[in-house]
Symmetry: C2
Subunit: 110 residues, 2 copies
């Protein structure tokens, strides 16, 4: 078979928790990731952190927090990972939240 990699677990739309989403977004680095993904899906290797020297384990952990909160989807794609912002799910559960979070420019990540 072409692939037997166990896909990472993602919470169902109905299981998203507002407090968990807010927490995930409350870190500047994670918020910056979300802003990048707002422009469209991105290969993880092309998703940059503020400090380019950050170890990959740290980067992976940041993605995990966002994924477990239901903010991003992380799928295997070739030898890498494809990250997608779960816009529809977020909008369905917390209408307007993403929009006003992305609108802000006071955290340096315009």
């Amino acid at each position: 078979m072409t692939s037997d990699i166990a896909p990472l677990p993602h919470p169902d739309r109905s299981d998203l928790k507002l407090t968990q989403v807010l927490f995930a977004l409350s870190d500047p680095e994670r918020l910056a990731i979300v802003r990048q993904l707002a422009a469209g899906p991105l290969d993880m290797a092309r998703c940059h952190l503020s400090d380019a020297a950050t170890p990959k384990s740290t980067k992976s952990h940041l993605m995990k927090v966002l994924r477990e909160a239901g903010i991003i989807h992380n799928a295997a794609a070739g030898r890498g990972r494809r990250l997608t912002l779960r816009r529809d799910d977020l909008e369905a559960r917390f209408p307007g939240l993403l929009a006003c979070v992305l609108a802000d420019t006071s955290d340096g990540t315009a």
Copy 2:
């Protein structure tokens, strides 16, 4: 004079940080406090926590986090404290944020 109590420090509207606001709101207990204050100003003594047995030092700390994030205003009033949601400031800096956070009912605090 009638009062010389040093007022608690509150951040200026222009100093509010989105990530700090999101963090403050990411705790269920704090979010529940904000929901109560959404109905109007409240004396702190009448602002209830989920566990009535919570020590006052803990309650005071919860209020401090909300105050320092710029979400609530805490003013001396008689022998107690008057808590007010900083609606206008929040709306000015993060339009729509409060509305969609208050709209959610998935955290038990409908």
